[in-house]
Structures are given as C-alpha cells and as structure tokens.
C-alpha cells in the first residue's frame, strides 16, 4: 500500500523537546495508553528526556513536538538550533503556541524585583514568548494541556504524509456534537465561542466554563462575546483578566485587547 510519505520511508525521527512549561503536555502524550505502542513501533523517538535515557540532542529530526514557551536565552538558542535541524516543527501546547500561563509574567508588575534578591542561575528573558515569535512553526497543537487524541491524529497524519488540519472553529461546535447543554443557559459565562476547538469541550461537559486555554480563534467575534459576557454581569476589570489568561503575549494579546476595548 502506497501510503508512506517520503519522510516516512525510513522511520521518522521524532523528538519531544521542552522549554518553559509545566510538562503536562508531555504527560498527556503518555495518555495515549495502548495506542502509544503503535507510535513507538512506527516512529523513532530520538529525544524524549522524560522517558529516555539517551537523547540525541544534536541530530536532525523529521518531526519535533516543541513544548513550552521561550523564557531564557538558553532556550532561545536551543529553539533556533532545533528549528534548523527539523523538517516539521510543531508548537506543542498552549505555552508554545501562545505563551500560555508562563507568559502571564509579561504583565505581572515588577515580578523581578518582587521575586528574588539575587539573580538565579539561568536568567530569564524580559518577556516569555510563544515560539513562533522566533522561529517558523509548521503546525500548532493548542491546549493547556493538549488533547492526546489530537496528538495521535497528528502522528498518524504524518505517517501518511498528510498535513494535519487545524481545528479552525470554536469550542461550541464540539459542545453541540457531544450534546452538552450550553453553560449560558445556566447563567454561567464561557469563552467557548471565541476559542479554538480540538479539545472536544471537556470543560463545558463538566459544567465548567471554558477559560480559553486553546487561544483566540481567528474568526472570533470578540465584540459579540464581550457584549454577551457583559450581559451576564462581567465587569470591565474581569474582562481583562479573562482575556489575558493564556494569551498574555504582547502582539496577540494586544490585538484581542483592542477588540475588547472596541
């Protein structure tokens, strides 16, 4: 069967490389459970320091799952070097895609002077950045944490030589598909309407508002969402907090903030 793509002729070299994050997205990958053995059988995992004793840190990779945001110079150097050696670079998880929770420090006041009396060993950069601020990204796998089914889909797609497609619609679509009752009907508020789908809406399904962990959808209607939140009693101050949780990265956030202001 001619399904193997060019890069997969020999077993693809796949690396999991981490920067500033909680490492949850790596852990999520292990939740493939039995499916993970098929992954181990079909690709060559050359780098996964959480699992492997020997990691190839200088070689070439076919696919890299790059987890975490860039927050130190050392990470930035590594990121650039990995990009040069990688065919298909995946921004893996919200930290890598948007800056995520670590990037909250971009707006935290005086975090430096507040936090430490002396410079720690590995000094931080002035801002915490999503990786596409510094290198080209081939695919974004959003989510805090990512969804392991999506991770599997991406790996299988790469095996067949298909570029994985991004889930460019909002969480509500998945809510409806799994027949979750909309939280707005209960008077709760939700970021689902402006957030990238792909998680399969676990939060609304457990009656918890989506807090937008997958980041703002390009086709979002922020104006309508803001009006909706205000109609449900959310104040201007709270709006800022809600919209800044995962996307607190200058350009991307500024854009949303402007829209909110409008």
């Amino acid at each position: 069967m001619e399904m193997k793509s060019e890069i997969m002729k020999t077993k693809a070299k796949v690396a999991f490389i981490g920067m500033t994050s909680c490492k949850g997205c790596f852990f999520e990958f292990l939740l493939l459970n039995r499916r993970i053995t098929a992954v181990f059988d079909n690709v060559q995992i050359t780098n996964f320091w959480m699992l492997k004793e020997f990691n190839d840190k200088r070689g070439k990779y076919d696919v890299v799952f790059m987890d975490g945001a860039v927050s130190t110079d050392r990470e930035l150097e590594e990121l650039k070097s990995v990009r040069e050696r990688t065919k298909f670079l995946i921004a893996y998880g919200t930290c890598a895609c948007w800056g995520g929770v670590p990037a909250l420090r971009n707006s935290a006041v005086n975090y430096r002077s507040l936090v430490y009396p002396q410079e720690p060993k590995f000094t931080s950069r002035a801002t915490v950045d999503p990786i596409d601020r510094h290198v080209k990204v081939d695919y974004y796998m959003r989510g805090c944490p990512v969804n392991e089914d999506e991770a599997f889909e991406v790996i299988v797609n790469l095996l067949t030589g298909k570029k994985p497609s991004e889930k460019e619609y909002c969480v509500c679509v998945e809510c409806k598909k799994r027949e979750t009752k909309c939280l707005f009907k209960e008077g709760k508020v939700c970021m689902g309407p402006v957030t990238y789908a792909g998680c399969n809406a676990p939060c609304p399904e457990s009656r918890t508002p989506c807090d937008g962990c997958r980041g703002p959808l390009p086709d979002r209607n922020i104006g309508a969402e803001v009006q909706l939140l205000k109609d449900h009693g959310i104040t201007e101050d709270d709006l800022k907090l809600i919209f800044s949780k995962y996307n607190n990265v200058a350009e991307k956030f500024e854009k949303v903030k402007d829209e909110v202001a409008r």
């Binding site: 920067m19 500033t20 994050s21 909680c22 490492k23 949850g24 790596f26 852990f27 999520e28 292990l30 939740l31 459970n33 039995r34 993970i36 053995t37 181990f40 059988d41 995992i45 996964f48 320091w49 959480m50 699992l51 492997k52 004793e53 020997f54 990691n55 927050s71 130190t72 050392r74 990470e75 995520g100 929770v101 670590p102 909250l104 420090r105 935290a108 006041v109 005086n110 975090y111 507040l114 936090v115 430490y116 009396p117 002396q118 720690p120 060993k121 590995f122 931080s124 805090c144 944490p145 676990p202 939060c203 399904e205 457990s206 009656r207 918890t208 807090d211 709270d238 907090l241 949780k245």
Partner: protein, 429 residues
Amino acid sequence: MSHQGFTLEELTKLEGHAKLSVEMEGNVVKNTKLEVYEASRYFESLLLGRDYREAPAITQKICGICSVVHTLASIKAVEDALEFTPSEQTVDLRKLLLYASNIHSHTAHLFFFALPDYLGFGDVIELSKAKHAYIHLALDLQQMSSDMVKIIGGRALHPVTPMIGGFHSVPDEKKIAALLKRLEGVKRLSLRTARLFSGLEVPELEARSRHVCMKNKNEYALYDGMITSNDGIIFRPRDYKKNIIEGVMEYSNSKHAKLRGMSYMTGALPRLNANYAKLSDDAKALVKKSRLKLPSNNPFHNNMAQAIEMVHFADEAKSILEKYRNGMKQEKYAVTPREGEGVGCCEAPRGLLFHHYGIGSDGRIKYANVITPTSQNAARMEDDISIFLPTMHGKPASKVKLSLEMLIRAYDPCFSCSAHFLELNLKKK
C-alpha cells in the same frame, strides 16, 4: 570516577531538567549540587492582583503531573483564607480525586521512569518494543486511573471541576458506576504492581534522616492533618513558615527547604513509615510479604512504598464510592470574598505541598507562596548522595552513574514543579 568528582549532565526520565555535580576528595564527598535548570516561572508574582477564584486554575499549571493536588491545595488555601468549610460530600470527592490522581502519578513514575532501570532496559520505549509483559500492565493501569481522574475532574490533567467551595459538577449515579468499574481494574492491577515492586532488589542504603509527612487520627492522611516528623516535630500546616525555611541556591532554579535547620524527606516512604497502622488490610498484607521492614530508612524503598500505597488508595476510593452509589447531589456553594490569609496543604504523590495566599477585601490576591515536594526533598537528595557514594567505592563508573540516577529517581522528583521559583527574600547572601 575521578578525584575531582563528576557531573551527570542531564538527568533523564523524570519531570523537568536537572543535573547533578559531585565534588569528591578520595572517597569523601565534599560537595553535592543538584542543579535545576528548568526555567523559573514566578508563579507567586503571576498571581498578584488576580482574582482569588483564578488561583487554582493558574497554580495547577505549576506542574502537569501533580496538577490535581496543586488544584486542591490551592483551593484549600483560599478556603482557609475565606474561612469557608466545605461540605462532607465535597471533602469525600476531593479525597477520591486525590486517590485516583496519586495512583495515576505513581503508575507513571513506577513504570515509565523507575522500572526500566530495574529490568535492565534503557527506557520504556525499549520495553514497549520488546513487547514486554509489563507494558500492558502499565498502560492499562494508567488508562484506568487517569480515566477516574477524568470522570471526576473533567480532564486527566489540569482538572476543571474542582472550584472554591466545591465542584462545578459531581458524579451522578452513572458516573459512580463507571468509576467503580475502573476501580475494580485499578485494584487488580495495583496488586500486581505492588507484588512486582516489592520483589525487586534495591541497593542497600541506610540513610538515617528526618522523614516528614501529614498525619491524622482517622486515616492514612493525604487531604488534611498535622505535619509530623519521625523525630517528634509536629505542627499545623498554618505554621509551616515557622518551621520550614526555604533557601535560594545560587546554582539552582529550585529552592532547597529545611525543617528546623535539617534536610528531610517527604513522600511515599515517610507516609508509609508513619501511617502503617492505617493501611487497608490488603496493603498491610503486602507489606508483610515484601522485603520492606518498616520503618525503612532506605530512600530506594520509596518506589516500593508507592506501589503499596496504590493498593491502599484503591481500597479507600472504593469505600468512598460505595457511600455514594446513588450518585452525588449537586450542592450550592456560597463563598464570599473577604480579607484573609490561608494555607492549604495536601500530600502530593511525591510529598508535602503547601499553598499560602493573602487575599484583599476586593478579592484580589495580595500575597502568594508555594512550597513543592521536590524543593523540600532537594537538600535530602544531596545528603543521601553524599552517604551513598562512598558505599559504591570500587564499582565501575557506569554502575555508579546508574545507581545515582536511580537514587534520584526513587524520590520521584518533579523539577518543573520545584522551579516555579518560589517566594522572596529568604536566604540573602
């Protein structure tokens, strides 16, 4: 091994990035440095000015592996500050969630990080490719325990249902039945796991040290209790600051904590040593049949203790689930913001975890501090290495290296967690 000592450049098969350097003179260890170069994330400062309700969802992102316990400790700290007492059902469900997530975390640690060493495989990937019999045990146990977390918490990592006051949603009758079904499998596989690990041969190491854990009179404490040490120290979580001092190490992005001036161990082994009497019958029977002689001072036994804990947690989870066979009731929670300060403490899979917040009258967070198990264990790990290395005298370098890594891994350290960079202005130079 040279005169000057050596460095393990990159410690693998654990959470987060770290390296180990040891300075030696002959057979005497002069200096051990566990250097964590996981980037700091300044969580405490990120919280400042944010709404108190956001604390659990933000601080759970300190660590993806023990996000459940961070969430719960954070909720407890806020509730403590707001003087809110959760309902009995809420506490039961929180405990259930803790049991499930501790089993999940232990499974991952034992099989993915620790076991390949003992079986002589490089890593779990090799184990999988070799179609080793244990790989399905590991994956199935992980699946069932993470499913339990997912059913209760909404997601397997970074749970979303727990909230200040209670839960956004609680399991109904159907979900309780689903949980019971998973639990049956968890129990069966945990027993196999415990038998497997209590049969493994571990290096001998008698590291007499201070062991610290939570204790209460009702149960094998995970969710609440007094902080107790094996040498008689006892204090309320609220008084942690008077007892635990965290120092900034110039070589590490993790802090090192000491309890009244001494390094200490926290985690499964101290828990098991202190709470043996509260174990379920099945777990007790396992201890009796194992090589474990309690109390044990061998940190390598931590893995065995984790495996035995899994059986106990499964039994505890069962009794909670039985109590709610007909489903839980969705309660209403009335939490009102007020000015206050609170501490939340829980036993994470790898040991004690403290969250501490100050909240203003406007509901905004004014102060935050988090102490993770790994930063508590860090100093103890260094001390253990200093004791352990001399016993390895004459062994080939590769063996020494492996044993050292195994020792560190036995602690189940989580460096991403410890390097969230803790609170301020302690040890000034």
